[in-house]
């Protein structure tokens, strides 16, 4: 049985500067995998490589055993991988409902149709309404994304990522900048909506990471220095030294 996501000796250089320096990573289907690491370690760059925003300078990335490195973002998305952004990246002029519906269109097979009226597609609208409810955004249904509060935008960012039904989900610091209560609430929501999916998540908050993740990889200066269960990571001396120790 192949892994959901495999990275083999992945490198990324911007000009002469190596940012990702030979990453090997395997995420099993259904696993919740966290990536931690200091600022500038290359976590977001790694997500950009996996999701097709950048192409690796070297190495290979596979989804369910099939190579995806070199494909365009939309092609990778269609193969069942979806990602969120560290900096909120929504359709700002569209309402919350429209944002969710747009993220469902391709998944529901509408492609570029100009012969369906979206308003009359019962299943599509039903699904979008359900997502509103699951995300707790029903009361904000018709508000343009640009007018949402920060926490609501983060929630919609996650919803837009997951709604399309991808089975491999990448979340880049989904709770960054949130208050404690909001963070707990959001993590509970993430845990609920990613049930049965493969989750790869960048997160700075150790409490969140150790609670949610099945496995943790530590990225330091473009290299994975450890990849293991939360307990093992906590006990790992190298990690202590390179990251956990100095962070706290």
């Amino acid at each position: 049985m192949s892994d959901a996501l495999t990275l083999a000796n992945v490198h990324k250089r911007f000009g002469e500067t190596p940012i990702i320096r030979g990453v090997d990573l395997a995420v099993a289907p259904g696993e919740r995998h966290a990536i931690i690491g200091p600022n500038g370690a290359g976590k977001s760059t790694l997500f950009n490589l996996i999701s097709g925003r950048y192409t690796p300078s070297e190495g290979e990335i596979s989804l369910h055993g099939k190579r995806i490195s070199g494909l365009a973002p939309h092609q990778i998305n269609r193969r069942g991988l979806s990602r969120s952004f560290q900096i909120t990246n929504l359709f700002q002029n569209m309402t919350v409902f429209e944002n969710l519906r747009c993220s469902l269109l391709w998944a529901q097979g509408y492609k570029y149709s100009f012969w369906h009226l979206v308003g009359r597609q019962a299943a599509l609208n039903e699904a979008a309404e359900q997502w509103l409810e699951r995300l707790g955004l029903s009361a904000r249904r018709d508000v343009p994304a640009s007018l949402l509060t920060y926490a609501e935008q983060r929630t919609l960012e996650i919803g837009t990522t997951i709604a399309g039904g991808a089975d491999v989900i990448l979340l880049d610091e989904p709770t960054a900048g949130m208050g404690l209560a909001e963070r707990d609430h959001t993590m509970a929501m993430i845990s609920e909506v990613t049930q049965g999916k493969t989750l790869l998540m960048v997160e700075h908050d150790m409490g969140v990471v150790f609670e949610l993740a099945d496995r943790i990889s530590v990225l330091v200066y473009g290299q994975v220095i450890a990849s293991d269960t939360p307990e093992a990571i906590r006990a790992n001396a190298a990690v202590q030294e390179a990251y956990l120790g100095e962070a706290h």
């Binding site: 979806s82 990246n89 519906r101 269109l105 149709s113 100009f114 012969w115 369906h116 979206v118």
Partner: protein, 426 residues
């Protein structure tokens, strides 16, 4: 369910609005009966379709094209060639459906040129459309069989091959033909905004990157939208050809492309009906002012600059900005400021017009000292007093407008505060 109920109300509302639109088109010739009005209103219909098709690019998909007249003009040429073929009895095709020939031509070239230009977005896209626009315009000199050279090509729309038994000789019959197509095309383009393609075009406009990450190839979305926009531009061109029975090279040219951009922008790109307002207003200004003054392009340019600077959402944007105060019952509070601004604004316009007209008189008239008739007065452009008075009126008007603008802003601030206050309905 409340959602299905509200969507039913929305549906009725939509049907009502479009029925009203159609009704207005039917009734107008009974109010404005002169042949020049009929001709002007026919042009309005043509340009409504053209401007709406342009807004499929600019407003809905964020594509700034400088060459949209290519599809309009080629559509017109194709239509006229088809009409000539019927004139020559080598072909039978009803005149009512001739705009579809234009649409097919617009679509074909939309596909051809769109496949090149939509590979890029933003400034690069704009530059490619400019290049294609000038290329097609200059190729008119090469392909004289198709474009007819200097004199263009002409045909006779009275082909005797029709669906409904009208001859389409009288301009009122052409008006209704254009009116019918205007309703059909406008409704079709409106419905297009409600399709997956329409929604994704908006998504690509707002955030092309995110659109990719929800599974869409932004190039393909832009390409299909572009091609369909060419189709509707071609229909408009076909109606233009039927109306004037002549097409010349400038109809595919950059000036025409610029004109549709201006119309659409002045009307407002952010709302579906914006370009309709723009097409009506600009056609009216063109017809009314170009007869009245040589300086109409100048007035037009000033208006455009003014809109870009102070009302980038166009006229529709201005109207839309008042929707919320209106619904909250606060519109009354804005009125005094506007009324206060109205009088100095009219003064400023009068002063400006006097200055411009006197300037034209001085530089262009055979006898500059012959008086010009303006605002029911005889004005002598060579007299210093006239210039002083005009400049004074202009200055006073501008000063008054600036003063009133402060009142308007203060009123708006107050209205915004009331609308944001807790418990206020939004």
């Amino acid at each position: 369910m409340s959602h299905s109920q509200s969507s039913r109300t929305a549906l009725l509302w939509h049907i009502g609005v479009w029925a009203l639109f159609a009704l207005v088109i039917v009734v107008l010739p009974y109010i404005f009966t002169s042949s020049s009005s009929i001709s002007m209103m026919s042009q309005m219909g043509v340009f409504i379709i053209f401007a709406l098709s342009y807004n499929m690019l600019l407003g809905q998909a964020g594509m700034l094209s400088f060459g949209h007249a290519v599809y309009f003009g080629l559509g017109g040429f194709f239509t006229l060639h088809a009409i000539r073929a019927v004139n020559d009895e080598v072909w039978q095709f009803p005149l009512e459906l001739m705009p579809l020939i234009g649409g097919a031509g617009g679509l074909a070239f939309g596909i051809l040129f769109g496949s090149i230009s939509t590979r890029r977005a933003g400034v690069t896209f704009a530059m490619i459309t400019l290049g294609i626009g000038s290329m097609v315009e200059s190729s008119a000199n090469m392909f004289t069989d198709f474009f007819g050279g200097e004199s263009g090509i002409s045909g006779n729309r009275v082909t005797d091959v029709t669906l409904f038994g009208f001859s389409y000789g009288p301009s009122i019959q052409v008006y209704y033909l254009i009116g019918a197509w205007t309703v059909i095309a406008a409704v079709a383009m409106y419905l297009l905004t409600k399709t997956p393609l329409g929604r994704i075009s908006n998504a690509v406009r707002d955030n092309p990157e995110r659109a990719q990450f929800v599974g869409y190839n932004t190039t393909i979305a832009r390409f299909i939208q572009f091609s369909l926009s060419g189709f509707f531009a071609g229909i408009a061109g076909g109606l233009f050809a039927i109306m004037f029975e002549i097409m010349t090279a400038p109809n595919v040219g950059l000036v025409q492309s610029g004109a549709v951009l201006l119309m659409t922008f002045i009307g407002g790109v952010g709302l579906f009906f914006g370009p309709i307002i723009g097409a009506v207003l600009v056609t009216y200004m063109h017809t009314a002012l170009s007869g009245f003054s040589e300086g109409w392009i100048l007035y037009f340019g000033l208006m455009f600059v003014f809109m870009v600077m102070y009302a980038p959402g166009g006229i529709a944007g201005v109207i839309y900005a008042h929707a919320a105060p209106w619904r909250a019952g606060l519109f009354r509070r804005l009125l005094p400021g506007y009324l206060l601004a109205l009088i100095p604004a009219l003064l400023a316009i009068a002063g400006l017009v006097a200055v411009v007209e006197m300037g034209y008189q001085l530089s262009l008239a055979y006898d500059p000292s012959s008086p010009i008739e303006l605002f029911y007065m005889q004005i002598n452009a060579t007299s210093v007093v006239s210039w002083l008075v005009a400049l004074l009126v202009l200055a006073a008007g501008i000063g008054g407008v600036l003063g009133a603008a402060r009142v308007v802003r203060a009123r708006w601030a107050e209205v915004n505060r009331s609308m944001q206050a807790p418990g206020a309905k939004t």
